[in-house]
């Protein structure tokens, strides 16, 4: 597989800088929590449901403590103290708090030691559920097998979860291995997770726990039918990143879009908030055995793919280090990149090959996520089908893992059922016809592809060195990624960042860190 003769010392140097970059940010992460992290803790304890106004119970509870300025101890501290006093179940206590029958702050406090012990026990018990789901997935795969790489990954986006289930099943029957239900536009900026099954979304469907469950069930059904475990994907991003991780872990999702910087850059979410949220969300995803997908492909929708190819690699190395801090395994890191070079470029395909092969070789164990052309897709669907075909060829030639199918109508609308069918059919055709091609290909030393790959690698490592000098937060302000600049105090969600007190209680963190790499 090593065809580019990359200098391992250069790669190691890149990793070292990336690690230092992430270590710096972790000083901030370790000192803070967020309202979303605290709500996730309550969700992990099994609290579900909404109040009469449709506000999730976890939002009500956390908001009350946040307004009182006492979240620095962690919601776990207050809630477990409440449980000890009332002897209620977590759900019952949550309902009593929302109905104003109980006020956590008014209850007498038992000793810290007693709270910590009970909290640890509760957390251990809660994580059993997630471990069960992980083992369930492993059993399904052992039993049915899964798609062959590059796995065919498609999106459904009807807005109606029941329609999504129909389309998802149809796609699996056509040959899809992974189904993502794209989220309704705008959900990433909601500071709560909507509740229940939903039938109205725009450009996608709300990510709710009930919707996850409906899709999971549909894919399990069709998986038995097609004799292949079908992966379910959703979007663990936005202001509720860690809460969605909990929901996904509980409903046995397999893949989560989960980037450490995407929300900052593309959704203008505050960076101090996102860095803390991504940490907790990745702890959960790691523990749940979920594969995450990072969003570097998006850089190339705003910046030029040839000029900025190295920013993709640099960001992948940073994303990898953030994930390692959560004890995620390389095998869980679906680092992202894309086939986005202007089709008018002479030798454009060779640039794509160089980039794809480079990413493959720098991250040999990771299930690389490869995204199709979007920026240069047009209303000419016939040409679009050819662009997607070249993308398919590049993917099989360079051994990509999670292959998000290009759809010929990309520039027009969310996929119609036969758009998706045509796309799956042509990818299957290309992959089947070129199945062993990668083993037969060598790139001449000193040739175009070698040179381009070295150049991108070296530029990426210099960029990491530069970011290491200025710090990641400052680099984001300077617009190092995707040509977009964000400030550390700007963006949405900063008011939800909490300084941890010395006694901050959250036993999930050490428990999940322990189990991330090795449980299951």
């Amino acid at each position: 597989m090593k065809k580019l003769k990359l200098n391992q010392d250069v790669i190691d140097r890149g990793r070292k800088h990336a690690k230092q970059i992430v270590d710096q940010v972790h000083e901030h992460i370790d000192a803070h929590s967020t309202v979303a992290v605290e709500r996730s803790v309550l969700r992990l304890l099994g609290i579900d449901g909404v109040d009469q106004a449709g506000v999730p119970l976890v939002n009500g509870i956390v908001e009350e403590l946040h307004n009182a300025g006492v979240l620095g101890k962690g919601v776990m501290y207050w809630f477990v103290n409440g449980l000890i006093h009332t002897k209620l179940s977590s759900q019952q206590l949550a309902e009593c708090i929302i109905n104003k029958k109980i006020r956590l702050l008014d209850l007498p406090r038992v000793s810290d030691c007693e709270i910590e012990e009970a909290a640890l026990q509760l957390a251990t018990c809660s994580l059993e559920k997630i471990k069960d789901r992980r083992q369930e997935r492993e059993a399904w795969i052992a039993n049915l097998g899964k798609g062959q790489e590059p796995m065919l990954y498609v999106i459904v986006a009807t807005g109606n979860v029941y329609e999504d289930a129909i389309q998802a099943k149809a796609a699996a029957r056509q040959g899809a291995d992974i189904i993502a239900v794209i989220r309704t536009t705008g959900q990433s900026l909601l500071d709560y997770v909507p509740y229940g099954p939903t039938t109205t979304g725009f450009g996608g469907t709300y990510a709710t726990q009930a919707n996850f469950q409906i899709l999971r069930q549909a894919l399990d059904e069709v998986g038995k039918e097609v004799n292949r475990y079908i992966y379910l994907t959703n979007y663990c991003s936005g202001l509720c990143m860690p809460e969605i991780a909990v929901m996904g872990a509980l409903e046995r999702l397999d893949v989560m879009l989960n980037d450490s910087m995407y929300g900052i850059i593309f959704r203008d979410i505050n960076m101090k908030r996102t860095f803390v949220d991504q940490y907790f969300s990745r702890l959960i995803n790691g523990y749940a055995g979920i594969i995450i997908n990072t969003g570097e492909d998006n850089y190339l929708t705003t910046a030029d793919a040839i000029e900025s190819g190295h920013t993709v690699l640099a960001s992948e190395l940073i994303n990898e280090q953030f994930a390692f801090r959560c004890n995620m395994a390389s095998e869980q890191l679906g680092l992202g990149h894309a086939f986005e070079i202007d089709p008018q470029t002479p030798n454009g395909f060779m640039y794509e090959l160089a980039q794809a092969q480079l990413v493959r070789e720098v991250f040999p164990k990771s299930p690389i996520k490869y995204m199709p052309p979007t920026k240069y897709m047009t209303g000419n669907i016939f040409k679009g089908h050819v662009q997607d075909t070249l993308f398919n060829v590049c993917s099989i030639m360079t051994g990509q893992s999670l292959h998000l199918l290009g759809i010929l109508t990309e520039a027009i609308h969310t996929p119609l059922i036969h758009d998706r069918f045509l796309s799956i059919e042509s990818a299957k055709y290309v992959f089947n016809n070129l199945r062993g091609i990668a083993d037969e290909i060598y790139f001449p030393e000193g040739g175009f592809i070698h040179q381009r790959a070295q150049e991108v690698l070296e530029k990426a490592v210099s960029l990491l060195e530069e970011i290491n000098d200025v710090g990641l937060m400052r680099a984001l302000t300077l617009g190092y990624f995707a040509d977009i600049s964000r400030t550390s105090e700007g963006g949405k969600g900063l008011q939800g960042v909490i300084v941890k007190e010395y006694s901050y209680l959250n036993p999930f963190i050490p428990l999940m860190l322990k189990g991330g790499n090795s449980n299951g």
Partner: protein, 254 residues
């Protein structure tokens, strides 16, 4: 000779009316399904229909590729399309025009508003690099271009309009599922009117599904669709400048 009063699709012979269609029926593939596809195509106004390809694409759906000859023609003389009246200037001409006529920079706010998360369009028009070799508004010396990005609330747009005393607002809407773009665009116009700003700014909307006609209907000054580049939008803005330099007038009167 083509008869402009009765234009028909061209396959390989004038007026053969040849059309290709692809569609899916939500029924399993069968001979009856094929016949259903044929009959449906006939009722669309096509003759000599041939179902070239029929395939079950799941247990419950069947996909068809169908050819037929269109029995209708259209009179070109009776068609009128409202388009933005525009003399397209070069980047330099635009900068020169602003320098001589406005004597200050032209302030432009751009955003992809409300639920829409797709910045491709607004970036193509505004980002320095632009798109397809056409530099964006940020690269124009005489334009102060502020790209607010995606999912920007209308309130924030208005706040920014005050802040930079914007001469023009550029709105991008890409997602049109369930007509969400109409809701978003209407909301902004209503708010601008309520603020008394509507007449002070040139209001432009762009997107792959936007037409000039739709834009006018919604109360915008212009609508741009695919194949629009920064110079098209900028040319329109400078031609509007002749009529509106309201912020400066305000200063004079206040």
């Amino acid at each position: 000779m083509v008869n402009v009063k009765y234009v028909k699709p061209y396959g390989d012979t004038l007026n053969d009316g040849m059309v290709q269609l692809a569609f899916t029926l939500p029924i399993p593939l069968s001979n009856a399904a094929k016949e259903a596809a044929r009959q449906l195509t006939v009722s669309m106004g096509l003759e000599e229909v041939a179902v070239a390809h029929a395939e079950g694409i799941s247990d419950t759906f069947s996909f068809f590729i169908v050819y037929g000859k269109c029995s209708h023609g259209v009179n070109l003389d009776e068609i009128s399309i409202p388009e933005v009246a525009l003399e397209v200037l070069s980047k330099k001409e635009i900068d020169d025009f602003i320098r001589t006529h406005l004597k200050r920079k032209l302030n432009v706010v751009g955003a992809c508003i409300e639920s829409d998360a797709h910045t491709v369009g607004i970036d193509a028009i505004m980002n320095i690099k632009g798109f397809n070799g056409h530099k964006g508004l940020e690269s124009y010396h005489e334009i102060n271009a502020v790209n607010m990005g995606a999912q920007v609330a209308c309130e924030e747009v208005i706040h920014k309009v005050y802040e930079i005393q914007a001469d023009a607002i550029l709105i991008s809407q890409v997602v049109t599922q369930k007509n969400i773009h109409i809701t978003n665009l209407t909301r902004l116009v209503d708010m601008l009117e309520a603020e008394g700003l509507r007449d002070k700014v040139t209001l432009v909307v762009g997107g792959p599904r936007i037409s000039h006609e739709l834009a006018k209907e919604l109360g915008y000054d212009a609508g741009f669709s695919s194949n629009t580049y920064a110079e098209h939008v900028a040319s329109f803005l400078v031609q509007e400048v002749k009529r509106k330099t309201i912020w400066d007038n305000d200063k004079e009167t206040s």
